[in-house]
Symmetry: C2
Subunit: 235 residues, 2 copies
C-alpha cells in the first residue's frame, strides 16, 4: 500500500490570507491537519490562522511541542509527535502540518520531519514555502527590506553583543528575531552607533493587533511580546 | 476625488500557485495590472507567472525597467513608469504591480514606489508580502534553511571575496543571490574552507525547469542562468 505524504504547509505570519494558493489547496485536500497544540486551553497560533480555511470533515491533530531547553524531553515530544503523524501516513493518509511563517525558516516542522525520517527513512515529506516574518515586517513598516547591494543578516533569538556588533559592521540591514528579552541591551548598542533612528520594531506582524514602532530614540524602554522583530537599516 | 492605490503584489518565485490568497484577491480586483515589460518580445517573468490569474477585462500596463548601470537612464525609466501608473491613480483607479518573489526583497517595486512618492507625496501605496527566493530554494532542496540559533546572511549580486569570507566566519547559513557570474571564484573559496559538500544551488526555483545541484564538489564548472542561488549551510 502506498504511504501518505506529510506536507509542511507554510501558513504565513498571522493574516489568514497570507497563505499561498498552493498551501491552501494542499491544506484543504489532506484528510488530517496537524499543528502545534496551544497552551493553557488556547488555540495554537498556526491553528488559529488556518481555522477559517478548514472543513468540518478534516481530522485535527494537535501535536505537543513543549517550550523546553531539556534535550531529552524535547526528543521525547518530537518522537511522540512523529509517531502520531506516522499512524496516518502508514495507512496511506496524507497529513498537512500547519507552520507559522515559512516552513524552512526557524520552524518546528524541521524537528518533526527529521524525527519522522528516523522512524522511516522512506517517509514522503514535501514542503510548501510561504511568507516568512522578515518579509511580513517590511510590508508592515511600509519600507523595503533590502535593495540593490544591501547585505542582509538575520539573527535569531539568542545572540551575543559581539555577534550583533559584527553583524552591524558587515550588513546594511540586520533583523533581530524575538528581540523582547534583550531589548534594553540592543537599544544601548544601537544608541552607541547612532542607529536608533534607522531602527524599527514590529510586534505581531500581520495579526489584527499588529503594532509598529519607528525611530527607537523614542523607546528606551518597551514591554514587547514574544513575536517582536527589530529591523535595522543603516542606509 | 479619491485617488487610486498602488498595490505592490508579491507573486512568488515562479509557480503561479505560490501567490498568496491576499495577493491574488488584490491582483484580480484592480482595474490595471502593471509589471516589468519583457525583453525581445518575450513576456516579462512576473507577467508570465500571473497570466493564468488575470481576467480579460483587466488593463495590462507593461513598464520598462531596463537592465542598465547608467543612473540617469534608470532615473528616466522610473520616472516614466511612475507617470504611467500615476495616470491611473489620479483618476481614482487602483493599480497592482506584480513583483517576482517578495515585494520588499531586492525588488524593482521599491524604485517605482519611491519615484511615485516624489511625484505625489500623498500617493497611496500598499504592499502584500510573499514568497521570497530564499524560502523557495530551501523547499526546492528539501532542507531547512535555518534552525534554532543559526544566523543567516544574504549576499546580493555584487560582493567581494572578503565579504564572503566574513559572512562565512559569522553565519552558519549563507545565501548568494545571482551567483552565476562569480561561480568559479566562489567555488574556490568554498573548496578552501571545505564547504563544497555543505553547499547547493537552485536554478529557477519553483519554475517547471527548476534544477538543483547538491554537493558542489562535483561541479567545479557550471553554466548557470541568471536566476541561480547558492546556499551554504555550515552545519
Amino acid at each position: 500500500m502506498q504511504k501518505g505524504v506529510l506536507y509542511g504547509v507554510s501558513v504565513g505570519t498571522g493574516d489568514p490570507e497570507l497563505i499561498t494558493v498552493k498551501g491552501l489547496r494542499i491544506l484543504q485536500q489532506t484528510t488530517v491537519v496537524a499543528f502545534p497544540s496551544g497552551i493553557n486551553n488556547k488555540l495554537g497560533i498556526a491553528q488559529s490562522i488556518v481555522n477559517c480555511w478548514l472543513k468540518p470533515e478534516q481530522i485535527l491533530l494537535p501535536l505537543d511541542f513543549p517550550y523546553l531547553q531539556d534535550e531529552q524531553k524535547l526528543q521525547n515530544a518530537w518522537q511522540k509527535a512523529a509517531a502520531q503523524v506516522w499512524h496516518y501516513l502508514k495507512q496511506g493518509t496524507d497529513v498537512s502540518f500547519a507552520c507559522l511563517g515559512d516552513v524552512s525558516f526557524y520552524s518546528t516542522f524541521t524537528y518533526l520531519a527529521q524525527t519522522l525520517q528516523e522512524l522511516d527513512s522512506d517517509a514522503k515529506i514535501e514542503t510548501i514555502p510561504g511568507v516568512c516574518s522578515a518579509m511580513a515586517i517590511a510590508s508592515a513598516l511600509k519600507i523595503p527590506l533590502t535593495v540593490n547591494r544591501q547585505k542582509l543578516i538575520v539573527l535569531p533569538a539568542i545572540y551575543s553583543v559581539q555577534e550583533l556588533e559584527t553583524a552591524l559592521d558587515l550588513a546594511e540591514v540586520v533583523i533581530l528575531l524575538k528581540v523582547s528579552s534583550v531589548y534594553k541591551e540592543v537599544w544601548h548598542i544601537l544608541q552607541s552607533r547612532n542607529l536608533l533612528g534607522s531602527s524599527a520594531i514590529v510586534e505581531k506582524a500581520t495579526f489584527p493587533d499588529q503594532k509598529t514602532y519607528y525611530n527607537l530614540n523614542d523607546y528606551p524602554e518597551l514591554e514587547l511580546s514574544y513575536f517582536s522583530i527589530l529591523l535595522i537599516n543603516r542606509q
